[in-house]
């Protein structure tokens, strides 16, 4: 089987095994553009690959050749595709294939083809591969906790093969390590909404709101929990507006007079959706005013837009646009 890590880079033309094959050069034409100055090993490997690919030879040596080509250019999707055809034809040991992928995973953790190939292999191995897979992904995420491919793959594994039981804990752990990790928040949402063990979003809402509010109070300038909070009330705006915990956390943060952009923004969104504030809210917003801002008008939403235009001045044109939308809506 395809066990050797590499064949030492020995020229294929000198190997007895390949004597019967005529390498097929690339049809670049007489004056190619973006021509790459291939090193000899690369050129030769790809010439032999082209020959085998054209002949559609699905043999053990073809398998070894694809490995060699992958090492030289892991982005060659044609080689990966052909490798899959060969693995199938040879009825190859896919656990060994996983081991091969594992060995090259670290240096190719952002390579589409590798992750797609992993998916293909794991799909064929089924539930038995699940634990190993979730473990490998954990390892990759421990190096880069935001690797997009790793997270997508993890979600695919959970949906195809299960393993949901420990996932919320895993999210919790990652968030304890880095509360600013948006990928972990996104995964949390994924688990809370889709895990067959948790009862769905509505059932989880109260406990999730508590968790999220805590995260907000610890770092009010962290965008993640604010968006997550809104996500917990997706398609249920009325409940968002009516949940006293939501408006309360906005008020708390605004009263600290520090890191309050997201709190003000959330309050604005609540008002736009019909929230009826008590006078405390208006008092807190008024207290934010500094001497260089104009006196606040009677409309709280407009006042908030005015403040945000100044304190979040990078987004001044957005806040002006939001304010204009308010006056259009009011008409």
């Amino acid at each position: 089987m395809d066990s050797r890590e590499d064949d030492g880079g020995e020229p294929l033309s000198r190997m007895a095994e390949w004597r019967d094959v005529t390498p097929l050069p690339q049809d670049d034409g007489p004056n190619p553009v973006v021509p790459i100055a291939y090193k000899e090993e690369f050129r030769e490997t790809m010439d032999y690959f082209r020959a085998i690919y054209k002949a559609d030879e699905r043999s053990p040596r073809a398998l070894r050749l694809t490995r060699r080509a992958i090492h030289l250019n892991p982005g060659n999707y044609t080689v990966w595709h052909f490798r899959r055809l060969v693995l199938e034809a040879l009825n190859a040991d896919l656990d060994e294939e996983l081991d091969f992928l594992q060995r090259i995973a670290n240096s190719n953790s952002k390579n589409y083809q590798l992750w797609h190939h992993r998916r293909w292999v794991v799909e064929r191995l089924g539930a038995n591969a699940r634990a190993k897979e979730l473990n490998l992904i954990k390892k990759i995420l421990s190096i880069d906790a935001k690797n997009y491919h790793a997270w997508s793959h993890r979600q695919w594994v959970l949906q195809a093969l299960g393993g949901w039981e420990d996932e919320l804990d895993y999210c919790q752990q990652l968030l304890e390590e880095d509360i600013f990790n948006n990928s972990a928040w996104n995964q949390r949402y994924f688990v809370v909404t889709r895990s067959p063990y948790l009862g769905g979003l509505k059932a989880m809402r109260a406990s999730e709101v508590r968790y999220t509010v805590e995260a907000i109070l610890a770092n009010p300038n962290n965008e993640c929990p604010w968006r997550y909070l809104q996500g917990l009330y997706k398609d249920d705006i009325k409940a968002l507006v009516n949940d006293p915990e939501i408006s309360s956390v906005c008020l708390k943060v605004i009263n600290t007079k520090n890191n309050y952009v997201f709190a003000l923004k959330m309050l604005l969104d609540l008002l736009c959706h019909g929230f009826q504030p008590c006078h405390e809210f208006r008092d807190s917003v008024v207290a934010l005013r500094t001497s260089d801002t104009d006196p606040l008008g009677p409309d709280l939403s407009m006042a908030i837009c005015d403040i945000l235009e100044h304190v979040d001045s990078l987004r001044a044109s957005y806040w002006i646009w939001r304010k204009n939308k308010l006056s259009v809506a009011a008409v």
Binding site: P74, Q113, Q159, F180, G231, N258, N259, R315
Partner: protein, 439 residues
Amino acid sequence: MESFRSLTVTQRDQILVEQQVFDIFKTFYNLPPSSQSFMLELQRENHVEYLTKGLTGLSPSFCVLDANRPWICYWILHSIALLDEFVDPELENNTIDFLSRCQGPNGGYAGGPGQMPHLATTYAAVNSLVTLGGDKALSSINREKLYMFLRQMKDASGGFRMHDGGEIDVRACYTAISVASLLNILDDELVQNVGNYILSCQTYEGGISGEPGSEAHGGYTFCGLATMILINEVDRLDLSSLTDWVVFRQGVEGGFQGRTNKLVDGCYSFWQGGIFALLKRLNSTKEVKPIPLGDGEGSGEESPQTTTSSDAAGEEGLNGDLSLGGSHSEIGDQHNTSSQDNVIDIDHNHSKGHANVEPLFNSLALQQYILLCSQELNGGLRDKPGKSRDHYHTCYCLSGLSVCQRSWLEDEDSPPLPRAVLAGLWASEICGFRMYDRS
């Protein structure tokens, strides 16, 4: 302020980048005005030289892009077009010939001669040929076979596979639909269920992910939004939450990040910045009043990243395969980023008879990031300070710059307004936004 050690990885990484960027800005502010003007200039000649060189020869380290050569063509040709330059006729012919060799016998374009056709490289090849324009380039595209290829890539879920047996995601939808639209081969068979698939990819954050459930991401958001517009189903998206998400992707550095709490990257100047161009078109056809400017004329109305092969293959894959050009009304046109020559003072009352609409993002801050942090004076543009230049980032930083400079216009084919072009503004006008406290 917490001690450095108690910061999370996200906080630490962000602070390191901010320090680098603010050092650059501080240095800039302390320069004499003549040096400042120079620093804000687009180094056109050097960029063109860097780009053209890439067309004619690439070093061995590019073997990790051996399955992406139409992409390299596109990044280079589109950049040259943005700079209002041309490729000499011989190179043009060679490009057409080369891309023909990448075209598969059964339709679509591969990453190189003899490889399998792939949607992303098809996108890149078609747009390269359209950018070159002219009969020879356009007639080299086998539209009938390409349609067959697209039909083959269509999946029951409504999405598309990138290649035979390949991955399905929002990129694949975009590359397929945009090419079909451009070549006028878009039909109900191709369109059906695409909207449902993309809709399922809009996340709770408001942005769009690559696959259902994944994280909202600038590249996929551009692709998803653009696709929905092309198939005329954009109103099915929650546009206000999408807008709200993308507006917050612009950071204190002036540039855009791809995802919440990630680092700024020059390529998102286009993927995220371009979203605003799309939204502006949509808003101008609706009731929402744009922000009228001082003259009272308001009217209704989107690499290899490093030199290591793994990153090159990977990051380029995530970002590079998302490549796309400007709006599709630009077929064959050359588009220029405004030259330094005629911009000296801000003219707030300038109107040129066109309606003026302020963009929803901070166009000046983005230009400042691109010119001061992404631009390499010797030619080429990059992700961020400390990274190397590459053709991918050159393409998308320049595309982002173009979006910025045209962002105040109602009519995209007009030249940019002076106030929209950063060069020539007083230093104090730049970065009016305040830095925000971090705990």
